[in-house]
Symmetry: C2
Subunit: 301 residues, 2 copies
């Protein structure tokens, strides 16, 4: 039976773009529910400036609570985003076993989002990788704006391949190819991933799609069809209010699982429990959560 | 270049499930905008009991306005739904050149929705077809609940094939295979359409998907991949408030066009004009329209 790996990004990429600031305990309860639903690969938070990203300020407390709890299991892939050496040192001190680095394919987006050029971001990654090697910490790579940039428009496919290869050469175990502004279409997704597959094996690539234009699920399907087996998703579609103009919600975990399980592709996630988690989460948030499966439920399946 | 045919169902299947009752003039303006955006295949309304479906009460006025206007072109496929002989006689009187009939794959749904058994519905269709032949009126067939029923759950694939064939044998020019409650997944869609393609040619089949669980676009893509080239969609996703529990919105025309045009599949529709139409429509409706492309816009494409 075919399998896919789902990486749950709700607690980092999701919450980071929400206005509701959940408490450490609420985040921990959410994580417990996700793990109970079968989630094994997840982001916990980010060691970034609390001034720049107030949503991630509780990360060290949440990490501590998780690592000292019975939830913590060796086989889990539990990562924290680190933007630079400083964040990496925090991660080491906190005792995390996995981190994620984050780069962009657009110079303008890189400067506006992580405040450095693409080359400078790779210098930062090298410092992080050096520490990762020393402390035996796994590193996942995010490459953002791979299909379009809000400032530069369409991104050259060759540039995506070049930067993904450069990230791969750093020694990350997986590279998540991101449609940060949700502008990719199925044709473009297959075209970009086909080029990537020529230089990076499928088991080191992941698809990270935002549903800004309703295309996330079809883009996942399109990538799946050409051999990609790892996808990022966010419980309930956390990551952007669907009412706000320019909202960029992540694709919802339960919508992705609904599709794959229906296709007899194993996710090892419990769809009913994911829907329950959506409904537990809804009253805590300040807007209608975007997952349609979560809202409507499974019906008479 | 590959082409698809998009059938615009916003004025019938869409509005029928909205609470806002647009005036004849508003509907006519909407139709004019759709035609300006390149729409050539569309539903205008339904000749059904105004008591049962108040939203369709203005159909005869709208049909008259359209038929006597410069919008009316011979090459357009402009259809009106007729549930039975009585509706068909109204259609003939009104001078329409195309009608649609509507059946179901679930006995319970058929009884609850069109108030007769499946066999009785086919008797009604035969009466309609007889008149259609006499008056040289084209007939399109809708087969609903092909993937799941709110009362009976999953529908047998063989039953769908049997009923589609039965509808085809009646002499309809196209059969629209409907996921009425938006519960289909991509695997099921390919499985059902593969079976259908064994008995009915691709150019006589259409896919009609509702986005209740966010799966409509991926289901269209899945059907496209195995050779289906006609799809129903509704401007802005008209057809059900996304806030209401159990809402069953149609897939939005602009989201479908965004996908296909991105894949270099020709729709002959103007995406910018469709987005403009969404925005013209939004203030007239009582809830946020569901199309994400319409809400967010095209970005720097």
């Amino acid at each position: 039976m075919t399998k896919v790996k789902i990486v749950e990004v709700g607690l980092r990429d999701g919450l980071q773009n929400e206005t509701t600031n959940l408490t450490v305990n609420q985040r921990f309860d959410l994580l417990a529910k996700l793990i109970d639903a079968g989630v094994k690969n997840f982001e916990i938070g980010a060691f970034v400036s609390a001034e720049w990203v107030p949503q991630m300020a509780v990360t060290s407390k949440l990490v501590k609570k998780y690592l000292t709890s019975p939830l913590n299991k060796k086989e889990f892939s539990a990562s924290v985003l680190v933007p630079n050496e400083k964040g990496m040192l925090q991660a080491i001190e906190a005792g995390v076993k996995e981190v994620a680095i984050f780069g962009a394919c657009s110079e303008t987006f890189s400067k506006k989002n992580i405040n450095c050029t693409i080359d400078e971001s790779f210098e930062r990654f090298e410092a992080v990788m050096k520490l990762a090697k020393k402390y035996k910490i796994k590193v996942r790579g995010y490459l953002s704006t791979c299909f379009g940039c809000p400032f530069e428009g369409r991104i050259s496919e060759n540039k995506v391949v070049e930067l993904a290869k450069r990230m791969n050469d750093l020694g990350v175990y997986e590279i998540s190819i991101g449609d940060t502004i949700g502008i990719a279409n199925a044709g473009q997704v297959q075209s970009v991933f086909k080029k990537l597959l020529k230089v990076i094996p499928a088991n080191k690539l992941a698809g990270h799609f935002h549903d800004t234009r309703g295309q996330a699920l079809v883009n996942i399907f399109a990538a799946y069809e050409i051999g990609i087996r790892t996808f990022d998703s966010s419980i309930a579609g956390l990551g952007g209010c669907p009412y706000a103009p320019g909202a960029t919600g992540n694709v919802a975990t339960e919508d992705v699982v609904f599709m794959f399980e229906g296709m007899d592709v194993q996710t090892n996630l419990d769809l009913k429990k994911l829907v329950k988690t959506h409904r537990w989460l809804q009253p805590k948030m300040d807007h209608l959560l975007s997952s349609k499966v979560g809202r409507i439920g499974l019906g008479k399946l």
